[in-house]
């Protein structure tokens, strides 16, 4: 039987998942591709270290170009992560006419288009299904199965760490700091969780999804980001009471010739499918002009799910060798209006006329109100005052708050969170 030889760069959790799947699903794979998959070289830091995968010790090397320049290797699988030296390795592999599969979101988000052109020039494939939402087949599905569609909307819960933290805060009433510690203890958050909780990870991923769906190169700097560090137990309580869950959403919306991207916490209606995406799970909600609304749900990380996505790309390369040039549509403008309803929570001194004055300032800024919740005083003589507005641009909200914050009976503008109405 014909052999397909893989060279793997990096031997972390995804690589060991990939190697394990190839081992335990081997008979199914052979039946499917009618070829045998051989892992012939693996780049590691220390070739002598003992590892929990079933590979011959001779495959390990600490010399990257021994893998990349190996004439017998057909497909290079890059699982190092980070931009350098992954970028240099992938360039060298493509120039060597090797197909490349990668799970590297930072690299694809920043250098994807250049590497894609290099792959086309060399008549090989560059695939990166595993770079977004782990096991969920979303990138190839958008670019292949849903190719009949012009996409209007992509809204994802694509960071498992923050979704775990928010779920724990919502379902178990945990405080933010405690939920972060719990996520760290279970391995869902890093020792330094900032790339997750501040939205950087989700921004990389939505930029990749938007590039694939809209055929439009997105610069990561064009994506306004707000993480979950300011979400309080109190906001989560109000959200629940008003029929919502708070989720960290990454969104890319196209209207006419404008695209708007962002990463932000949002109120999601409890009966919307995105609301049931709990803990470390991910989901991507799409709207295409032919297919309508779709949602894809699954595990966004982990050794086997991410390995499944990497192996799916490898199988696709083996079964299908035609390479097509992707063109980029540059007539579309990237905007930042954030035209949505908003949840705003104030702490106010409980005097007659406070609500009226705030409502007036909202009115002057063309902000109309969908609901108001006024509550009993806190211990310190202040009371929470909660508004949900109708749709309005974020700049109107900011202009109104600029005035309201100088009003002496408003002691604190505690929260401003977008309400996602999926329009």
């Amino acid at each position: 039987m014909e052999e397909v030889k893989l060279g793997i760069l990096g031997m972390g959790t995804v690589a060991s998942g990939l190697i394990n799947i190839i081992e335990f699903n081997n008979s199914k794979l052979i039946e499917n591709i009618n070829k045998s998959l051989i892992i012939s070289k693996v780049l590691v830091k220390n070739p002598d270290k003992k590892r929990n995968v079933n590979l011959d010790s001779g495959v390990y090397t600490s010399e990257a170009y021994e893998v990349i320049n190996d004439r017998d290797v057909h497909i290079i699988v890059e699982l190092i992560g980070g931009i350098h030296p992954a970028y240099e390795y992938i360039k060298a592999a493509l120039n060597n006419k090797k197909h490349v599969v990668t799970a590297n979101k930072a690299l694809i988000a920043t250098h994807g288009q250049e590497l894609e052109s290099l792959a086309v020039k060399n008549k090989v494939k560059l695939m990166y299904e595993a770079s977004v939402a782990g096991g969920i087949p979303i990138i190839n599905t958008i670019s292949e199965n849903l190719a009949a569609n012009d996409f209007e909307q992509i809204i994802g819960i694509i960071n498992g760490t923050t979704n775990y933290i928010l779920t724990q805060m919502t379902d178990c009433g945990l405080e933010y700091d405690y939920a972060v510690k719990e996520a760290q203890r279970l391995g869902f958050a890093e020792a330094d969780p900032s790339s997750d909780v501040e939205g950087d990870d989700a921004a990389y991923k939505i930029s990749i999804l938007a590039t694939v769906a809209f055929g439009q190169r997105i610069n990561i700097k064009d994506i306004p980001k707000e993480g979950i560090t300011k979400i309080s137990k109190e906001d989560i309580k109000y959200a629940k009471e008003l029929g919502y869950n708070i989720k960290l959403l990454a969104s890319a919306i196209k209207k006419n010739n404008e695209i708007e991207l962002s990463v932000h916490p949002a109120f999601v209606p409890q009966d919307h499918p995105l609301s049931t995406v709990k803990n470390e799970f991910n989901a991507v909600f799409l709207r295409g002009n032919a297919v309508g609304e779709l949602m894809f749900y699954g595990r966004g990380a982990g050794s086997l799910p991410t390995g499944s996505a990497v192996l799916g790309d490898i199988i696709s390369i083996i079964k299908n060798c035609k390479i097509e040039e992707q063109s980029s549509n540059n007539s579309i403008k990237i905007v930042n209006k954030a035209y949505k309803p908003y949840y705003i929570r104030f702490e106010v001194i409980d005097k007659p006329g406070v609500l009226g004055k705030i409502a007036n300032i909202f009115g002057e800024n063309n902000i109309s109100l969908a609901s108001v919740v006024q509550r009993q005083k806190n211990g310190n003589d202040t009371a929470p005052l909660v508004f949900i507005t109708h749709e309005v641009e974020r700049k109107n909200i900011d202009a109104a708050l600029e005035k309201i914050k100088n009003f002496k009976y408003v002691t604190n503008i505690a929260s401003i969170i977008m309400v996602e109405n999926f329009k």
Copy 2:
């Protein structure tokens, strides 16, 4: 630019969706496939009838073989539905070395394997994404993007009519008969709804999904079916109270070398993603041994969503011409155990000892109980008595009920509904 010519058989709702998408997304399609799509022949009953699509009147013909035998047509799109004459037309098209795309679930469920072999023999493609779950890309995703996985579980809400009816009963408190009428009025149910409400439509679709996922030919007769005609408002009320929604599920479960298929109403936990699938929407929940749990959600019918799936197949054929033989795995046994928890509702005469006697009979049949709800009397001296059991084979439930039904204080065994625990 190179042209790809389509011959369409049938001019119903899906065909007009397809033609409309090709028209309004034309520039995107050309960019993607780098060829121009031409609808060159369309089979209709009456070529002179006025239609709401933008096609030259010269493309219509009432003679099927004028389309199938046209030497210029590259791809035949079969949208007539039903088994005959679609079967004969597709055979002729494949023998003419034309690729075939179809949305015909009844035909693929009953003759899919024979037609697939004929396609392989003729080195052309037979694709049928639109035959299951309308716009949701599920078939190609299972067979391509998720090819790294051995599948363990497929559970779908894949009949929009019944899901619409159950949602209306749940959310608006409608009686079954009224909900059916409402579905008919809105076009979600046929004048004769039996194929939907009795589970036949879902059985066709789960047989196709199971065949694709397990590489195992499924005979439609191997699928036990129970529809929704016996679901009462009262069961829906108890389900809600106990934390569930009632859904019509089509399931295919593989354990070791056994596959179990069925179509049945089931209790689905309210916080499970399948519970938020409302009205005419469909969803397919999968578990693969690498990827873990996935769910795909979207519109399961309709002109544009189904047209999107048909066009996705057409684009895939144009971009990828390699044809591979699918082998069938025949070492797997199809079983019917239905090992699950069950919801059972009795009407009993409210006397001391009734509960104990029923519980004893359950015990004698190795049925252990997870919860019991006992309620106040109805007007007629009887009271409802509701049980949820732990996991047990259906035959034990039937054996117990056989005894219980002879017990004089049990006036009615009102309902037996499976509880879906997704194990």
